[in-house]
Symmetry: C2
């Protein structure tokens, strides 16, 4: 499986990796990674086992890198950014553990989901432990503003997940409804990760808001690209099988668009495959046909570009610098990885 | 069902209610209750629904009362105690929601468990939301010491729950192992609830430690009485059915004691009923016979008295006051409610 996702527009002439970003934050990321390993430790053996299963499975750690980058962009000089970056990654890992239970997923990052190996109970509780450890690290840093940003993010993320429960099986979900879920569930943590650097550095409100907006829009673009890749990416890029969202009956942006643009017969297909009966053999091919016919994947990528463009513009008030250039390139990486 | 739990010792001549405590904190508890109601609100309808199902089902709210009492005992004069008390109750409620998923429980406080009504996913996520809201309230109070105490408690509680996963089905659990779980899972939050008052009031370390010790030992006593009541209390007192722990195969202190004191035939019974086959008709009666024969329920109550006594002594360094008297009476209430 794996279809080409064509975009009519010429692609911008930019390099599109995150090498520049990872290079600039490399020294501090080593400290973040060491901290993650040490804070996942517990006398209760199952905790590091479960947590390391996920942590060592090679996520890109883009969120903690963003926290460090936000600090650099703000000329932050303390070392709280390292602890907050680790805390952000712990919050993310906790969310993944709980998500797998909520979605009853079987795979995560190309491995069996933790809940399949250790059970739902362990996934819920180790997630809780990581959240507790995340807050402990934040408290050690002692910045009440950063604590506020990240505690708010924790509540918003959970709220977004609950909201998703009610939209999850609803093919009539509107694009706005869907975006509300994406903002809360995915983009809020990107936004918070980017905002804590300038907050700790005591930068003016406008700079905090700019970093937050960069993270929020980058996060939305990131999720939309993920949605599209599920119907057209390679397994290696996804860490899960092509069509997983479809088989799990997830209503993502490509579906939202195709459902609105389709006829009665197509709508009946989506409802049967995603909600009522579940997908059967041949359904994924049919879904790809409909998505292509309505240009739903292409337009999902264009929407992602739109948010990527907003992310880039959000950084406009910062003067040129290597870290700013790296953050701009990160947008390209996120948006262009669909190709 | 409902057997008498006889104690050979004469019962101390004390009144044993929490009327004194609830009277002294009544005005602030009204503010706590209002805060709980307002902070459980969300545009996402399912959140207040699920949370209120549990919150309105009439827990005793002993933990937030302890937080307010700790403040009074320390002559705390701000209003952070109200927010922290609500945060403590939210942490407790979040734990209950996650526990029900972990234990696959059907009943909670005499009602259907939330997971039966709204599903596991909602229970996990609304728990996460309440935890996020709890941290937001703590951040608003702005006491880093209190944040430290409560964030540590959150991590320790989760750690204790994971520890329990590994002891849950092990009849060879020692009394010390079991106590380690009780300390982490139940008593740590009592301890933290009691410690934040003196911490916010900037009281000397010895007073903080005294309040913490009071809460820790009270929490242990509380859990042990719960363990005993499961085999001999009334449903009204328990909010669940007599024998629920037994039917769920929970290894509690009465079992730990009876298992060690029993013969091979009895040990085979416990292993079959609690671990391997699950309990069948007549097993609960047989369990009660064995527990009575080895005086396991009586000794569980005596152990609870021991911790109750430690809790009382922990407050020794405080001069007499109405709130101190109320806290001492609360120990009696907890220990004597088995009768």
């Amino acid at each position: 499986m794996g279809v080409v996702l064509p975009l009519d527009e010429p692609r911008p002439e930019r390099s599109s990796g995150i090498e520049k970003l990872s290079g600039l934050v490399a020294a501090n990321m080593q400290r973040v990674n060491a901290l993650i390993l040490s804070r996942v430790g517990s006398d209760v053996e199952m905790i590091p086992e479960v947590a390391n299963h996920l942590i060592s499975s090679g996520g890109k750690r883009i969120r903690p890198m963003l926290t460090l980058a936000g600090g650099m962009l703000s000329d932050y000089e303390g070392d709280g950014d390292v602890k907050l970056a680790a805390a952000v990654e712990f919050m993310h890992t906790a969310t993944l553990l709980h998500d797998d239970v909520v979605d009853e997923s079987d795979m995560r990052r190309g491995k069996n989901a933790a809940r399949l190996v250790w059970g739902n109970a362990a996934s819920v509780l180790v997630g809780d432990f990581l959240l507790g450890q995340a807050f402990k690290m934040m408290v050690e840093v002692g910045s009440l503003e950063s604590l506020d940003i990240l505690a708010t993010a924790a509540a918003v993320i959970a709220e977004g997940e609950v909201l998703q429960l009610s939209t999850a099986k609803n093919t009539a979900t509107s694009e706005d409804d869907y975006l509300a879920v994406v903002r809360a569930k995915t983009a809020e943590l990107f936004a918070a990760a980017c905002e804590v650097g300038p907050a700790m550095a005591g930068r003016p409100k406008a700079e905090r808001a700019a970093c937050r907006s960069y993270g929020m829009n980058l996060g939305i673009a990131f999720q939309l690209i993920d949605d599209a890749l599920d119907y057209g990416g390679s397994e290696a890029k996804l860490g899960k099988k092509v069509g997983d969202d479809f088989r799990e009956g997830k209503i993502t942006l490509p579906i939202v668009l195709a459902f609105r643009r389709g006829d009665d017969e197509e709508r009946a297909f989506w409802t049967r495959a995603l909600v009522e009966g579940g997908a059967v053999d041949g359904d994924l091919e049919r879904a790809l046909q409909i998505l292509t016919h309505h240009e739903a994947l292409r337009d999902t990528l264009l929407r992602a570009r739109h948010y990527g463009s907003m992310a880039r513009d959000a950084l406009g008030l910062f003067p040129p610098s290597p870290i700013k250039a790296a953050l701009l390139e990160t947008v390209d990486f996120v948006v262009e990885r669909a190709h």
